[in-house]
């Protein structure tokens, strides 16, 4: 698969502090790439380097096969974590100004703005000042301004902060639609549930180093523990439990469901397959629930950061 953005061995020092140490990432075209890491890990520095706000000390960044260049500014749309707008400027005027900074013509910007304002049903804000809007409303404007010039690469740093669940969903759908229309998205967040929902690929940065990257499903496969959630209906709860314990490793159940008499997490060791477990279970009781436990992004995040 083609990579839209490739960062090779990027390092950056601020004084004595090493913000990035030899970090390489590759963002496939048309993917949603999750850039994860604890606070202060170096995510924002990497994003700023991609935006040519800061220059790397060593290493290089290629966009679409070419080393980063002034011209690439209009190919990138960036929604920073620390974001804001001119408070006393009118919404429309401001959006036009920011669009023109990205190289759009005024007429084109106006037309595109109209499309987006209609889509998000915010057309009547055109002549309002930012300070008259709520935080969530201002965030919507900010989102529109970020994607307006149809950049190849979209970078969202905590895009959902400040949104209520309804609007967060709306923005999530817009991001997915943009991806479907061909944009590539780099997505930086702490909210792991949105990572699972959105991201195809992830990279995990901790203490200035990249410690993990790849396709999310591959990583999950790599981190899975061969554990299955099992829900059974039986009259003899104690007997069945004892029987399972004798053959398999049993962990406390973490899932919820309504009418099972016995809930267990069963871990398979030493070459046992899920079919072995299932055959054993059906011989003992009636199986109502049987699901493989997929490690959540959150679990992977916590585990790798802890072990690092």
């Amino acid at each position: 698969m083609d990579n839209l953005l490739v960062a090779e061995a990027v390092s950056k020092k601020f004084g004595d502090f090493k913000a990035l140490n030899d970090v390489s990432i590759a963002v496939p075209k048309g993917s949603i790439f999750g850039l994860l890491g604890p606070n202060g890990a170096g995510k924002t520095t990497l994003i700023r380097i991609i935006n040519q706000i800061t220059m790397p000390d060593t290493g290089r960044v290629m966009l679409d096969g070419k080393a980063l260049h002034q011209e690439h500014i209009k190919d990138i749309g960036y929604l920073p974590e620390e974001r804001g707008l001119y408070k006393s400027m009118k919404v429309g005027e401001q959006a036009l100004y920011l669009a023109q900074l990205k190289g759009m013509s005024k007429a084109e910007a106006k037309q595109r703005l109209k499309y987006w304002f209609d889509k998000l049903e915010i057309g009547d804000w055109w002549n309002k000042k930012i300070q008259e809007l709520s935080k969530g409303q201002a965030q919507k404007i900010q989102f529109v301004v970020t994607v307006l010039h149809r950049p190849k690469l979209l970078i969202f740093d905590e895009p959902f902060s400040g949104f209520d669940p309804i609007n967060a969903n709306l923005i999530k759908d817009e991001i997915l639609q943009l991806r479907d229309e061909g944009a590539t998205v780099i997505f930086s967040t702490h909210r792991m549930e949105s990572v699972e929902e959105l991201c195809d690929h992830i990279a995990l940065i901790n203490k200035s180093n990249k410690i993990l990257d790849g396709k999310l499903t591959d990583i999950q496969r790599q981190y899975k523990t061969n554990t299955f959630e099992v829900g059974l209906q039986t009259a003899d709860v104690d007997g069945v439990t004892r029987a399972i314990r004798d053959r398999f490793e049993v962990l406390p159940a973490t899932f919820k469901n309504l009418n099972d008499d016995l809930k267990l997490n069963v871990k398979l060791n030493g070459g046992a397959t899920s079919n072995d477990l299932l055959t054993f279970l059906t011989s003992k009781a009636e199986v109502h629930h049987f699901v493989e436990v997929i490690p959540s992004a959150s679990d992977i995040f916590i585990e790798t950061v802890k072990n690092n």
């Binding site: 002034q70 620390e82 974001r83 804001g84 707008l85 001119y86 920011l98 301004v145």
Partner: protein, 414 residues
């Protein structure tokens, strides 16, 4: 505010002018009880003040009378025993304490008359004194034959001072504006959105140039609007601000009527022609732009280094000091000797040179000095812009604690 400010200013001037006129228009009558009988024609009635002489009454009667008439006051001049005691015993009675101008005008009139009387009584011929009074006016000429005059120096000082002061004001007002606008972009957090589209140095220079153009536009609007409004206001209220009755203006009027004035006017005009006008205009543009850019880039750097305006104080001092020093050096040493060591040295130091050099130029500064000073200024300006751009680039993305000078130094290396 751009349009409103001159309106408010003019309204204020009109009100002050009107009030002054109202105050001066108050008619007052002053009674004079002159027991010497010698001072009859000393006090001349003017538009606002009438004097009436009381005769054949005692002091007590006069006081009662004046109070009953509600006069402004009573001037009592007792009979003199001899001339040495002439200055004693003269009293002004009034309800409230009299105005300073009234008192000094009374004193002046009395002094002149009594001095004359005293001289006469000592056998001095007054006419002789008046006719032998000689006024000296030393003509000035340069070795190359150009006529100059004292007015020359005054005019030069006025021009230089105006240019220097204008630059000083411009730097302070618009430098602050730049600083505030940088802080605003930081606190509203739009800065990162903007610098993902333009380079920090482009943003900084754009801000400096944009703000100064806005400033110049504002100045021009003020001057035009102010001029128009001034004319309109004087026409409507019939208050001519120029002929307001103040003592200074009366003196001016007398001077204008005197025959000497015409020749002085001619000299003044010549002095104006003697000014190195072309040099002044060209130098003004270069030093103004250079000085402004030098300081405003520093203001931008300060704005970037801090999070809010209250934190700027620490960094403002090092900027304001040389600027204020420049104005003081300019005002005090350039008057004293425009080509003296102090003023010459300060007209080369880049942080003071724009102001001091602008003040010196009307007095004629050799071209090589101007060029050298300008070259130093441009060199320093390039350096400060580089320096400010470094601070700016790092500072705009730094939030939280106020940086120390040591940290600012570190930023230069990021």
């Amino acid at each position: 505010m751009t349009v409103l400010s001159p309106l408010i200013m003019i309204a204020l001037i009109a009100v002050v002018a009107y009030l002054t006129q109202l105050n001066n228009n108050k008619k007052r009558s002053i009674s004079v009880l002159d027991q010497t009988g010698l001072l009859e024609e000393v006090f001349q009635n003017t538009d606002n003040t009438t004097y009436n002489y009381l005769t054949n009454s005692s002091l007590e009667e006069a006081k009662v009378l004046v109070k009953a008439q509600e006069d402004y006051g009573l001037l009592y001049i007792p009979k003199q025993v001899d001339s040495t005691s002439a200055s004693k015993g003269i009293i002004f009675y009034s309800e409230e304490s009299p105005s300073l101008t009234v008192m000094s005008s009374l004193e002046r009139s009395l002094e002149k008359k009594m001095t004359d009387l005293e001289l006469e009584s000592n056998g001095v011929d007054l006419d002789m004194i008046n006719s032998s009074r000689i006024s000296i006016d030393i003509a000035q000429e340069t070795f190359s034959g150009e006529t100059t005059s004292k007015i020359d120096n005054v005019l030069k000082l006025a021009f230089g001072g105006m240019a220097g002061y204008l630059l000083f004001m411009f730097i302070i007002i618009y430098g602050n504006m730049i600083m505030r606008s940088v802080i605003e972009e930081k606190t509203s957090r739009i800065i990162e959105v903007i610098i993902s589209s333009v380079k920090p140095i482009q943003l900084m220079m754009g801000k400096i140039i944009g703000t100064s153009l806005a400033g110049i536009t504002q100045f021009i609007i003020w001057i035009i609007l102010g001029g128009v409004l001034m004319t309109v206001v004087s026409a409507i209220f019939g208050i001519s601000i120029i002929d307001m009755h103040t003592p200074q203006q009366e003196i001016m009027q007398q001077a204008v009527q005197s025959p000497e004035f015409e020749s002085k006017l001619k000299l003044g005009f010549m002095a104006f022609q003697n000014l190195p006008i072309a040099n002044l205009i060209v130098a003004f543009m270069f030093f103004f732009v250079g000085g402004y850019l030098l300081y405003s880039s520093l203001y931008a750097a300060i704005g970037a280094a801090v999070d809010n305006e209250t934190d700027t104080q620490q960094f403002m001092m090092p900027i304001l000091m040389p600027l204020i020093l420049a104005v003081y050096v300019g005002v005090f040493t350039v008057i004293e000797d425009p080509h003296g060591t102090v003023s010459t040295v300060f007209s080369f130091i880049p942080f003071t040179s724009p102001v001091v050099m602008l003040m010196r130029i009307p007095f004629g500064v050799p071209i090589w000095q101007q060029l050298l000073s300008l070259a130093l200024l441009i060199g320093t300006f390039v350096f400060t812009v580089w320096f400010a751009a470094k601070i700016y680039r790092v500072g705009i993305l730094m939030y939280g604690k106020k940086p120390s000078y040591k940290e600012l130094y570190k930023w230069l290396k990021y």
